[in-house]
C-alpha cells in the first residue's frame, strides 16, 4: 500500500494532509505530536512548550516551517503592470531584490487577501499568501502578457526569527550584514541555492529562507548545527500567533473574512476598514477596486475599523464582544493574548465606526476557572500597533547577540 501511495496520484485522499519537505525533522522534534492542518498540510501547533517557543522568537532564534504558505509565480513582460493592476500598491516601484506587504481587492474595493510580493527579477515576481486565488489571478491577467503558475509545492521555506538570527546566519556562512529589511539575496547552498529575505511575521529581527524541496533537509540541518550555540529551536503556530499579535499583524480568515469566501455579504472589509489604507496608491493609475476605494475615501463611508486594544488586567480576551458604555455592542475581538514581550493585555479587534474613536470601550470576558465562569467587563483602550516593536528589527547591520 505504501508503494501505491507514492506512485498512484489517484490515492492522494489516503493522506489528505500532506507533509512538508521538513516533516522528517519537525516530526522528530514534535515531542507532544501537537499537529494541526494548515492549507492542506500537517503543521506543528507546538513542539511541546509554547511559552519556551515564544521566548525563542524574542530572545534567541526560532525556526518556523513556512511551506504551506500558498505561492504563485508571475512572470512575463507585463508582470509589473499586471501586479499594479491587481494589487493596491505600486509593484513597479518595488525594486528587484525587494519585498513588500500588499493586498488585493475586488471591484467593490473589498479585500480578497493579503500577502507578500517578492520581486525576483525585472519581469519575475512571487506572491505568497494565505488563501488560493488561481481563477482570480488568471482572470485578472486578461490583456496582460504574463504567465501565472501556482508553485506552492516547488518551494521549501523556513522562517528564522529572533534577535540572534543574524549571528546564526553568519555562523552558517550566510553574510547578511548589510541586508536591509524587505530586501533579499541569494546564496549558493548544497549544490543549489537558498534565497534569504529579511522578512517575517514576528515584528522582530528575522529572515525567511527559500529553497527547493530537494535542499530542505540539508538547510534545516545546517541551520540547527550553526544555531546550536544560540539555542535555536523549532516553533509551532501557537507561539508564532502570540508574536504576530504583539507585532499587530492580521491573518486572513482570522482577523477578517476574505470577500470571495464571505457567505454573508456584510462581512467583507475594505482596506480602510482593516487599517491598511496606507498602502493604497491612488496615483499609480487604475487598479482593481480603485473607483470604489476612492469613493469610500471621499465619502468617508467606511463602516468598520481594525484596531489594537490595550485591556485592563491580565485575562486574555479571545473572541470577546466589545461594548461602549458597557451596553452598546460595537465590535468583536479577532485575536488576543497576554503579551509576554510587552507585558500588556492586548487584542486586535473589529470595531464599528465611529466607536473606534469614542473611548469608553469595554470587553466582555467569560473566564473559565475550574468549571465556573468569572464574568468580567474589562475597560479597553484603542492603541497604536504594533504593541511591541524592538528597534533591532530594523537596525542594519544587525547587532550581534
Amino acid at each position: 500500500m505504501n508503494v501505491m501511495k507514492t506512485t498512484d496520484p489517484r490515492l492522494h485522499y489516503l493522506t489528505p494532509l500532506k507533509q512538508t519537505p521538513f516533516h522528517p525533522r519537525t516530526a522528530a522534534e514534535n515531542r507532544l505530536n501537537d499537529w494541526g492542518p494548515w492549507a492542506g498540510y500537517t503543521t506543528a501547533l507546538s513542539f511541546g512548550d509554547t511559552a519556551m517557543e515564544h521566548s525563542a522568537i524574542r530572545n534567541t532564534a526560532s525556526v518556523y516551517d513556512l511551506c504551506p504558505m500558498v505561492k504563485y509565480r508571475v512572470t512575463g513582460p507585463d508582470a509589473a503592470a499586471y501586479l499594479d493592476r491587481l494589487t493596491v500598491r505600486n509593484a513597479s516601484k518595488l525594486s528587484v531584490g525587494g519585498v513588500h506587504y500588499t493586498i488585493w481587492c475586488d471591484d467593490a474595493g473589498k479585500v480578497i487577501d493579503d500577502g507578500t510580493l517578492f520581486r525576483l527579477g525585472p519581469t519575475d515576481y512571487r506572491i505568497c499568501c494565505q488563501e488560493r486565488h488561481l481563477p482570480w489571478l488568471l482572470d485578472s491577467a486578461i490583456g496582460y502578457e504574463v504567465a501565472i503558475v501556482e508553485e506552492t509545492e516547488d518551494v521549501a521555506a523556513l522562517s528564522l526569527q529572533g534577535p540572534c538570527t543574524y549571528s546564526v546566519l553568519k555562523a552558517a556562512g550566510f553574510d547578511v550584514a548589510d541586508l536591509k529589511p524587505f530586501r533579499m539575496r541569494t546564496f549558493p547552498f548544497d549544490g543549489g541555492e537558498v534565497m534569504i529575505s529579511r522578512t517575517g511575521f514576528t515584528g522582530d529581527l528575522g529572515y525567511e529562507l527559500w529553497t527547493t524541496p530537494a535542499h530542505a533537509i540539508a538547510l534545516w540541518d545546517h541551520l540547527f548545527a550553526a544555531g546550536a550555540p544560540w539555542g535555536i529551536r523549532p516553533i509551532g503556530t501557537h507561539a508564532l500567533d502570540i508574536a504576530r499579535i504583539e507585532a499587530g499583524f492580521i491573518i486572513t480568515n482570522l482577523d477578517f473574512i476574505p470577500v470571495d469566501q464571505a457567505v454573508r455579504e456584510d462581512r467583507a472589509r475594505s482596506p480602510f476598514e482593516l487599517g491598511l489604507e496606507w498602502m493604497v496608491d491612488f496615483d499609480k493609475g487604475h487598479f482593481t477596486g480603485r473607483r470604489a476605494l476612492l469613493k469610500e475615501k471621499v465619502n468617508k463611508s467606511s463602516k468598520w475599523a481594525l484596531v489594537g486594544l490595550d485591556i485592563d488586567g491580565n485575562v486574555s480576551v479571545e473572541g470577546s464582544i466589545i461594548y461602549q458604555n458597557g451596553k452598546t455592542e460595537v465590535g468583536t475581538v479577532t485575536a488576543a493574548c497576554w503579551s509576554p514581550s510587552a507585558k500588556r493585555n492586548i487584542a486586535l479587534a473589529q470595531v464599528r465606526r465611529p466607536y473606534h474613536e469614542s473611548g469608553n470601550l469595554f470587553v466582555e470576558v467569560y473566564a473559565l476557572r475550574e468549571l465556573q465562569y468569572a464574568k468580567l467587563m474589562l475597560p479597553a483602550r484603542v492603541c497604536e500597533r504594533p504593541f511591541f516593536a524592538p528597534p533591532r528589527r530594523r537596525t542594519t547591520p544587525p547587532a550581534p547577540f
Binding site: R10, L11, P16, G40, E131, L134, Q261, V263
Partner: protein, 538 residues
C-alpha cells in the same frame, strides 16, 4: 365515524400532515391505494432478503424540525450520511468526490488546477442562494394579490429578504433563478467533468437539460438540505427510504391516527361545495370534516373530483401545470459488488453517487432523446449502492444498487410504453454500467425496472414526475401549483392539498405536508404547540 381529516395517500407528505394533525388532537385517517405505504419514500422486498429503495433513494432535504417534532428518531429513523461519489470518464479516469476539503481540491486539481481553486467561490455562491431560500421552506407562500394582513406581512417579509441584499447580490439572485445550470457553471469552472458533476442536481427530476434556462434553481433545491446540521450533506435512510415513512406511520399511530392501506380513492366526496370524505375503490366511504390530498394536483382535481365542481379557469391552469415525466429507475439485487475498472482498490467513491456522464454536452444529448420522445440511448444515471454503508438491506456480501435514470419520457413517440420499450430502456442502462464495470451483468439477481408508466401506475405520480410538478421558477412560491391556490387550499371548501405539487415542492422534504397541516390548524384556530419554529438561518 366522521374523521376530522381524511388524508389521501400515505406518502411522506400525507403522513407528515397526518402526524401534525393527530398531535393537535384531530381524528385522522390516511387512506392508501397500495397494500404497502410510503408513496415515493418506499421500501419493498421484491427479491428474497433484499430491501429496495424503490423510488426516492437518498435523504437530505427532510426537514430536521419535522424529524424532531414527530420524534422520528424515537420511532426508528436513522439517516446515515455518506461520502464519496465519482463520475466515470470516457478516457478511463474518474473524478472523485471527497468530504475533506483538501482531498477534494487535490482531486479537482488532477483534472484542472484552476477548477481546484475555483470551488470555494462556487460553494460560497451556492450557499448564499441556499441561505436565501431555506427560510421560505417552512412558510406558506404569500398571495401577492391578497390584502389579508397575513399575506401582506409575509410579502413584506419576502421583500425584506430581497431588499436586504446588495444590488450586486440581487442581480445574481435573479440571474441564478432563471439561468441554465450550464451557463452558471461556465462562470466558475473549465473542466467538462467538473461541470457535469455539479450539474447533476440541476436536472434530476426535471424535464429539462443542463442547457435549459431555469435549471440552476433546481440545483439549489438539492443543495439546501442537510444531514444532522451539515448543510449540503446527503445520506441514506437506514433500511431503505421506506424507513422514513415507516417511522412516520409509527409516530402517527402513537398519536392516535390510523392508516388504511389496500384501497384507493375512487372519488373525493363533495356535498354542497364542501369535501366530506372519500369513496374508495371497493365502494366503502370514509367520511371526514375535511379531505387532504397527498396526490399530485392533476390527479387530485382532474381524476378524483368532478370537473363541474371546479371553476373553469382553475381546471385550465391545473391542466397546464407542467408535470412532465423525465426519469425512470432501476433497482438491482446484486450477488456481489461491481468492480469499476477506473477506481483504485477499496475506493471510498463507491459509497456515494456515481455517474457515467462526463460532460454537460453528453447530458444535453441524453435530453435530446427525451425531446424526440425516446428514452436516452446513452442515459444519465445517478447510481448508488447504499449497502456499501447500510448492510441491513441485503444478505451479507450481497448488494442493492439503485439507478436513477434520465431521460425517460412519459410516452414513447406519443404512444404508451410497451414492455419492449421498458426492456430496451433497462438494457441501455445496464449496458452503460457494464462498460465501466465488466462482469457486472453476471452478478444481477433481480432487476425492478420503473419507467414513467410504472411510476404513474404504482406510485400514482402523474406522468411519472418525481416532484409532482417541475421545479421551474414559473411553478414556485405563490405560483405553485397554480396562482391563487398556493396556500394548500383548493377552490372546494375543506379540500386541501399537501403533496409536492405545493410549495416548496418535491424531494423527501416533508415541508409541504407540514405547511398544509399548519394552514389547516390555523383555519381551525387550533394550537400548534407541537410544531416548532423553523430553525433560524444565522
Amino acid at each position: 365515524m366522521i374523521y376530522d381529516a381524511v388524508i389521501v395517500g400515505a406518502g411522506h407528505n400525507g403522513l407528515v400532515a397526518a402526524c401534525y394533525l393527530a398531535r393537535a388532537g384531530l381524528k385522522v385517517c390516511v387512506v392508501e391505494k397500495n397494500d404497502w405505504i410510503g408513496g415515493a419514500a418506499v421500501s419493498r422486498e421484491l427479491y428474497p432478503g433484499f430491501t429496495y429503495s424503490n423510488c426516492s433513494y437518498v435523504a437530505s432535504l427532510f426537514r430536521p424540525e419535522i424529524m424532531r417534532d414527530l420524534e422520528l428518531p424515537k420511532f426508528g429513523l436513522q439517516i446515515l450520511p455518506y461520502e464519496g461519489g465519482a463520475v466515470f470518464m470516457e478516457n478511463g479516469d474518474y473524478l472523485g468526490m471527497h468530504r475533506d476539503h483538501d482531498a477534494n481540491r487535490r482531486e479537482f486539481a488532477r483534472h484542472s488546477k484552476r477548477d481546484a481553486e475555483a470551488y470555494d467561490r462556487y460553494a460560497r455562491d451556492v450557499l448564499r442562494h441556499c441561505r436565501f431560500i431555506r427560510p421560505m421552506l417552512l412558510r406558506t407562500a404569500p398571495d401577492p394579490s391578497s390584502f389579508r394582513p397575513r399575506d401582506l406581512s409575509e410579502l413584506a417579509w419576502l421583500g425584506k429578504q430581497m431588499f436586504g441584499l446588495s444590488e450586486a447580490a440581487m442581480y445574481d439572485m435573479i440571474r441564478f433563478w432563471t439561468m441554465s445550470i450550464g451557463d452558471f457553471l461556465d462562470e466558475y469552472f473549465e473542466h467538462p467533468t467538473v461541470k457535469a458533476y455539479q450539474a447533476v442536481a440541476s436536472i434530476i427530476g426535471t424535464a429539462l437539460g443542463p442547457m435549459s434556462p431555469g435549471t440552476a434553481y433546481v440545483l439549489l433545491h438539492h443543495a439546501m438540505g442537510d444531514v444532522d446540521g451539515n448543510v449540503g450533506a446527503w445520506g441514506f435512510a437506514r433500511g431503505g427510504m421506506g424507513s422514513i415513512t415507516k417511522a412516520l406511520k409509527a409516530s402517527l399511530e402513537a398519536a392516535g391516527g390510523e392508516v388504511r392501506a389496500g384501497n384507493g380513492v375512487e372519488k373525493i366526496l363533495i356535498r354542497n361545495g364542501r369535501a366530506v370524505g372519500v369513496a374508495l375503490e371497493n365502494g366503502d366511504e370514509v367520511h371526514g370534516k375535511r379531505v387532504v390530498s397527498n396526490m399530485d394536483v392533476k390527479r387530485t382535481f382532474l381524476r378524483h373530483v368532478d370537473e363541474d365542481e371546479l371553476p373553469g379557469d382553475f381546471v385550465k391552469r391545473v391542466k397546464a401545470f407542467k408535470i412532465r415525466g423525465s426519469s425512470g429507475k432501476l433497482n438491482i439485487a446484486l450477488d456481489c459488488a461491481p468492480t469499476f475498472t477506473a477506481l483504485p482498490p477499496n475506493s471510498p467513491h463507491m459509497k456515494g453517487d456515481m455517474h457515467f456522464t462526463d460532460s454537460i454536452e453528453k447530458m444535453e444529448r441524453a435530453y435530446d432523446d427525451w425531446k424526440a420522445g425516446h428514452y436516452s440511448a446513452d442515459p444519465f444515471q445517478d447510481m448508488m449502492i447504499p449497502t456499501m454503508i447500510d448492510p441491513t438491506m441485503t444478505p451479507p456480501g450481497k448488494h442493492f444498487m439503485s439507478c436513477f435514470v434520465q431521460y425517460a419520457p412519459p410516452k414513447i413517440e406519443g404512444n404508451d410504453w410497451t414492455d419492449a420499450d421498458r426492456d430496451g430502456f433497462a438494457r441501455a442502462c445496464l449496458d452503460q454500467i457494464e462498460k465501466y464495470a465488466p462482469g457486472f451483468k453476471n452478478s444481477i439477481l433481480h432487476v425492478e425496472v420503473r419507467t414513467p408508466r410504472e411510476l404513474e401506475k404504482e406510485v400514482g405520480l402523474t406522468e411519472g414526475n418525481i416532484f409532482q410538478g417541475e421545479l421551474t421558477f414559473d411553478q414556485l412560491l405563490f405560483n405553485r401549483p397554480v396562482p391563487g391556490c398556493a396556500q394548500y387550499r383548493s377552490p372546494i371548501k375543506d379540500l386541501w392539498i399537501c403533496g409536492s405539487s405545493t410549495h416548496p415542492g418535491g424531494g423527501v422534504m416533508g415541508a409541504p405536508g407540514r405547511n398544509a397541516a399548519s394552514e389547516i390548524l390555523r383555519d381551525l384556530r387550533a394550537p400548534t404547540k407541537d410544531m416548532s419554529e423553523a430553525y433560524a438561518v444565522l
